[in-house]
Amino acid sequence: MTRKQRRMTIIGGSLAVLALAAALVLNALRDSIVFFSTPTMVAEKHVEPGKRFRLGGLVQPGSLQRGDNLAVTFEVADGNAKLPVAFKGILPDLFREGQGVVAEGALDANGVFKADTVLAKHDETYMPKDVADALKKQGHWKDDYGTQASGAAKPAATTAQGNPQGAVR
């Protein structure tokens, strides 16, 4: 083989691997991206049942109900709209009524959001960044969310995994 042929082999091989990677990424993007919505966005866009998304908002005070065997229901609100959420499992340490939450799952036929993961991933202002941004955009940002913490805010993250049926495993 000449130097030129060798170089062409290497360049050809590189392009093949790159093309493979690009194909894999595009394919993966089509199937596995999860979008973030607030209850208002869900109400406006009529998300179809079964489509997975992340729901973010505030846990409506007084809406938390614990059922049998770790089943819980609560409402996620963002000022304009509310959405009932059903979850089975252990809620994260930082889950509280009136504070921010992000749940991942899909709507069922009755319009209830079946969550298989509930994240309360936030700093001391008790507001996940995604939720805070969404609320600010809608003009529902109350200043007292931001002023609860003095000095630098330290975060904590906890995650709850839902019931085995809903999970990927």
Binding site: L24, R54, G89, Q161
Partner: protein, 660 residues
């Protein structure tokens, strides 16, 4: 007084770094040895002053001096001593100080062990180190000063984030930083050689040990972080594809590629331009990681504080260094001479394939990390890219890489014999296929992916063993000869085998854990029994205990298997009064490489408690794999050819010390 001294020492370190950035370069231009030697003394002095500054912050934390804002916000007088010390880097300011301390440590090491480097190369390398250091000293002093005082000192501190009050904080960040920052050395070497316009095989021999050291620490740091998340967050997850984890994985992938391409350069004087580029990219990814974690663009356990000025400052540093180094590369790379020739099927060819797959896999992770951020900024909608994305994109690429791994070390340099290698790997391939068949039959159907992946893992391990068998002549030759050969085998060959086998071990662990994990989540009352994976867990009772700075509720489980008592497990839930938050302390029972995992949720009014029980088969292999890889790295590092501080050609050394 301590705080002011610490602050002052940091300012002095900045001044020294500024001198070190300029004077050695002038010396190199003028050919003045005295000016070039300024690099050495200033690097050592810089290390001394940063060390003093860091020690000052540690002392402030140990003494619980709450007149310092950093101590007030992250410490508590009742906190155990270990966490008072580790709490130093459990916050933004302190962790940046640790970052620069480690940077100065590496600079000091190059200064003290780099006596055999050409004088002007050492001057250039240390000057580039000092540029990076100056930028980060400025960052700390201008936006994140850890020594700020509070006008009216409070009596008690606000305590450290409870999640961080764990032995993991003592190990994970320093290890990770030793890795991240260690790559600054190969970066500095790359920039230095571009500035000098000279690069050869000796360059690779100097750079490789430093890269290897950084890589070993990064490997262990990532593994440690993963295990920490696994037992601390309370639901047994060990990798989340969180942007912060990706930030550490990307330099690891690029660094692994760099280790391999430097090998080609050292042995065959080829792939020079590519190796230089990889050195630059690896450290750029480390800087990107620092930006992602420290700027607050993402929310995570690692993002301590969100302050926009810090983000902008780090972004500036990032653009300056990445942009500057890549422009220098673009301008100078063509002047570097082309290296040796090799056929596509050869050791070099295999290493090129390794580099190709690693960098492309790294690019996929980079894409997955930045795409959601870019979309949020440009198109204004939010989304998340999680495990499903990486399973479909990163995993196939890595599987391809693993398939190629056993071939690499067996191919000859320059021109290899693929057919011969395939024949020699036949046994390993058969072993892999047999395992696929056994696992397939054992689980009876289900996903074909898991048995195949386990077979791949076995193939990789068997391939590594085959390489050693071939080299020592085990089976073919008499035992005494084999022993003699094994002793004569370069340590780097052993290192390669261990590191490659570690990949297979980790893969098997990952597949077993994700496929056959059993999970039991329920509320339990005292004296109830849960059955998970053959174990019976009887909840004996709940009781309270007072810790140094928390109260904890402990649940006592009697574990038995087939009627025989095994042990008692005591998971607990700690509530920290100062911060009003709680953590979950999981209890782990290790049997071989498998673990039983119990963690607690909330207690209900009727005296019942929510529990999460997992049985995770072979889960420990996930971390034993990286430990094996790191061990392989250490072996390779101890190879005489690469010994840090003794990078002379092995031949000369042997002649000088024949008795060794």
């Amino acid at each position: 007084m301590i705080a002011e001294s610490g602050h002052y020492a940091l300012v002095l370190a900045l001044a020294l770094a500024l001198i070190q950035s300029v004077v050695p370069l002038i010396g190199a231009r003028l050919g003045d040895a005295a000016l070039m030697n300024v690099a050495r003394s200033s690097a050592l002095a810089q290390l001394l002053f940063v060390g003093a500054s860091f020690t000052a912050l540690v002392m402030l934390h140990v003494n619980s001096d709450f007149s310092v804002a950093n101590v007030y916000e992250n410490s508590h007088s009742m906190k155990p001593l270990l966490y008072k010390i580790t709490g130093v880097w459990g916050n933004h300011e302190g962790s940046m100080l640790l970052w620069v301390s480690i940077l100065a440590l590496f600079g000091g090491l190059v200064a003290s062990f780099g006596n055999n480097l050409p004088l002007s190369l050492r001057a250039h390398v240390l000057a580039v180190q000092a540029w990076v250091a100056s930028a980060f000293y400025l960052f700390i002093l201008m936006t994140s000063n850890p020594f700020l005082r509070i006008a009216s000192p409070p009596i008690e501190g606000r305590d450290l984030n409870p999640v961080l009050q764990d032995i993991g904080l003592a190990v994970h960040p320093p290890m990770l930083y030793l890795g991240y920052v260690g790559f600054s050395i190969s970066f500095s070497f790359a920039i230095a050689s571009l500035m000098e316009g000279r690069i050869d095989a000796a360059w690779a021999r100097w750079v490789r040990p430093w890269t290897l050291v950084a890589w070993i620490f990064l490997t262990l740091g990532i593994a440690m972080g993963s295990y920490w998340a696994y037992y601390e967050l309370g639901w047994g997850g060990w990798w989340f594809w969180d942007p912060v984890e990706n930030a550490s994985l990307m330099p690891w992938l690029a660094g692994t590629a760099l280790l391999h391409s430097a090998l080609v350069m050292e042995k065959r004087n080829a792939l020079k331009v590519w190796t230089i580029l990889l050195s630059i990219l690896t450290f750029s990814l480390s800087l990107l990681g620092t930006f992602l974690v420290r700027s607050g663009v993402i929310t995570s356990v690692h993002a301590f504080a969100t302050d926009p000025t810090r983000g902008v400052f780090i972004l500036l540093i990032l653009c300056l260094f990445i942009g500057g180094s890549l422009s220098l590369f673009a301008g100078r790379a063509t002047s570097l001479k082309q290296g040796g020739l090799f056929a596509p099927i050869s050791r070099e060819g295999a290493l090129v394939l390794n580099n190709l797959l690693l960098t492309v896999a790294c690019a996929v992770v980079l894409f997955g990390t930045l795409y959601p951020l870019a979309m949020e900024m440009l198109a204004d909608f939010k989304m998340s890219v999680g495990a499903p994305f990486y399973n479909l994109s990163f995993a196939p690429l890595f599987a391809l890489l693993l398939l190629a791994v056993p071939f690499g070390p067996m191919l000859a340099w320059k021109r290899g014999d693929l057919l011969g290698v395939m024949q020699r790997l036949l046994a390993a391939g058969v072993a892999g296929l047999v395992v696929v068949a056994i696992v397939w039959a054992w689980v009876r159907g289900g996903s074909a992916l898991a048995p195949l992946a386990i077979g791949l893992g076995v193939f990789v391990i068997a391939g590594a063993v085959t390489d050693l068998v071939e080299r020592t002549g085990l089976v073919r030759l008499p035992f005494a000869t084999v022993l003699h050969r094994a002793r004569g085998l370069p340590r780097s060959a052993w290192g390669t085998a261990f590191a490659h086998a570690g990949l297979g071990v980790a893969l098997i662990g990952i597949v077993c854990e994700t496929t056959w994990n059993s999970e039991y989540i329920a509320t339990m009352k005292p004296n109830e029994t849960a059955h998970v994976a053959g174990y019976d867990l009887k909840l004996d009772g709940l009781f309270q205990r007072q810790g140094p700075n928390y109260r904890e509720m402990i649940a006592e489980f009697k574990i038995s298997r087939d009627g025989e008592a095994v042990t008692v497990m005591t998971p607990s839930k700690r509530s920290f009064t100062t911060r009003g938050s709680s953590t979950t302390e999981a209890a782990l029972l290790t049997r071989g490489a498998s673990q039983l995992y119990v963690s607690l949720g909330d207690a209900t009014a009727e005296g019942a408690i929510a529990v999460r029980i997992y049985h995770k088969p072979l889960v420990l292999l996930i971390w034993w794999g990286p430990v094996l890889m790191a061990f392989g790295g250490v072996l390779s590092l101890s190879d005489r050819r690469l010994r840090v501080g003794a990078p002379k050609p092995a031949r000369a050394k042997q002649r000088l010390q024949p008795a060794e």
